[in-house]
Amino acid sequence: MIRQIHEPSRIGVYVCHCGMNIAAKVDVEDVRAFARSLPNVVVAKTYKFMCSDPGQEMIRKDIQEHDLNRVVVASCSPLLHEHTFRRACAAAGMNPFHLQMANIREQVSWVTPDCALATRKARALIHAAVRRVADHYPLAKERVNVHPAILVVGGGIAGIHAALVLANAGKKVYLVEREPSIGGHMAQLDKTFPTLDCSACILTPRMSQIRTHPNITLWTYAEIEEVAGFAGNFKVKVRHKPRYVKEELCVGCGECVSACVFKEGRVRDEFNQGLSKRKPIYMPFPQATPNVAVIDPQSCLKIMRGKCAMKCVEACPRAAIDFEQREEHTDIEVGAIILATGYRTFDARKIPEYGYGRFPNVYTMLEVERLVNAAGPTGGDITLRDGARPQTVGIIHCVGSRDRRHHPYCSNVCCMASLKMAHLVKERTGAEVFNFYIDMRATFKGYEEFYDQVLREGVQFIRGRVAEVTDWAIRPAEKGKLVIRVEDTLVGVVRRIPVDMVVLATAMEPQEDAAAVQRKFNISCSQDGFFLERHPKLGPVSTFSDGIFLAGVCQGPKDIPASVAQAGAAAAEALCLVDKGFVEIEPNTAFIDEAACSGCRTCIPLCPFQAITRDAVKGVAVINQALCKGCGTCVAACPSGAAGQNMFTDAQIYDEIEGVLADV
């Protein structure tokens, strides 16, 4: 701890026009003149784009020519360009932490319609910054080495792609999936739009690459329990759920499944969306990776009641079944984390007027995907629950999305998925297919062409949000059918369309535990509940927590190409971090002035990171700079002013308070 007595302040103030973004509302010349009049300000200038090269160059030159030792930049949010201007200051030989920014764009010009008031507010913020910056003292970022391994959470297509990119780049990857197999939703799909590739055919090779890649450790049926640490040095605890089958011994022969005392499946088969039943011991699906059986403790007699003939154990030639398996934990260290936790589909029961759960022949899109699939419960036959073939099928778009009662957002993939389904149903059954849409959105490569193709195939499109699906027949043709009642907004009449089968294109929504995951990883969610990216344009895969990146639908609804693209981007960002080898940590840590500390220990229990301990010999608190994350909670609580925080000292904050309140 040292007391720094610095030379008198020589401050330069730089007011940015940001084109017209600031200058249209804030009288930048007035503000500049005001700044120049403040004590210790030796130069004040305006410039069109301060963040541009010439802008930075101007600051750099001024620091040298005017011998500045403090700089205030009044422009956009410090969250956007603080790093830029710190670099400019450092380039001129000034300590980069002698910079303070005044946010006169996001917090002034963009939110204040009145020019005079905006100018006044800008003056106040600059006044505060000028006062505060005089209290700044030299600081330096600390460099911490980065652990070279990377964790990918979620084994859907996004997680799979990210893991493969990283592993192919030679990085050690942990891929953690909570289901018994990787594959995610893509494994459930039959065909992919718009090219109608077989989903399994393009996904399965990727899944087996994951399984065999020397750089990838795959843990399925496992969840993340705890995340501690920070960018470059995360400490993660992984919980392995017992599958009661030894993964290293099982070869996926399926003998145990046939041998199970349950002759028929009795449990809802998750993979087939409940359209078929499985046994308590089962293979998740034919291409499951790892290809290992798993026992469901909710239905296995041995586990539930302790009594069973245990035919499975007898049947297994490799003695892989182990009812003694218990939950296990592994601790790993990684430098970066990619979250690819995916989505779930909207529960169509929440819109009872569409009859899902009441009328047997109302299906969700994902259910019909399983029906269409050759490996599905009907062997690819699109049949109704009674085995009949539908003659007419209605596909309802935007179920749960673009709906203020549920999700206001557009779910992004439903139009195309509905087109694909319309094509498949027509192709397989020859049925007449109606699509009920609000707007058709077919915006990416090859999508519009596909829409056009489906139109030409004779699929009917009715523009209007469906009011209800009912079994109330009022015309003979409606007898025994489901009637879709809808206002056809192109014709301007209410229509009743009788169909045999209704398919609901349900929205993608955040995973049920998205909020818990968000807390675990210390990131944010946007209003819709999906994980929040750092910047919608310029940081679409980063989060506000350094070292944690997003891929796939966990960040927002998107289709397979977009998920894969984002996964690649997330992998690249993670590579950047890991390959650089170190991270720089903001020096905003707390510290204790030993000469002032009475050893009262108020601060110790308040630290969420256990960074504070008591030095028993000196009788004072000590803050471990490596553990401190810089929240400042201890500093605010210290009753005798012995704790301080770099970059946010009491003096700096009081100066800001006085600065913003001064009548300027």
């Binding site: 040292i2 917090q107 002034v108 963009w110 840590t589 002035d593 400042g632 909670t633 946010f648 308070i657």
Partner: protein
Amino acid sequence: MSSNVTLPVAKEFEPRIVAFFCNWCTYTAGDLAGAARLAYAPNMRVIRLMCSGRVDPEFVLAALRQGADGVLIGGCHPGDCHYREGNYKCLRRFQLLCKFLRQMGVEEQRVRLEWIAASEGDKVQKIANEMTAQLKLLGPLRLQITPRVNGRPRAAECPPAPTKGVAP
């Protein structure tokens, strides 16, 4: 006699609000309000802190003393704190501070704690407007301040002069 500091009374009283926003949620929400061009009353002046846990009741008192008519503290929603629990520590202090402020005749609308997530730019707008309107109705905070007569430094009046730092 005591020199009671009164704010200059303009045609319409324009309250001054000091806001302490945490870096991760509320400050970001403030930026989002800007990016979305959600116009709001210009009376609020934001001071960025890393966490609402950094908000010392002394800051609130100092702001009121310096002429603020209201103070807003913005932090992450409970459970969402970037530092796990800083917002809860803030909440504890805030509740005791409010009790004291009530005794001191400071109306409860003047000092508020709001949880504003990074995505809630509209909430920043709403609260800035709401608070400005409420403070306009309440009028200026009439503190009866007696400053010290000599300029010699004492902690209660002047910022500690030398700044401290950790040797880099």
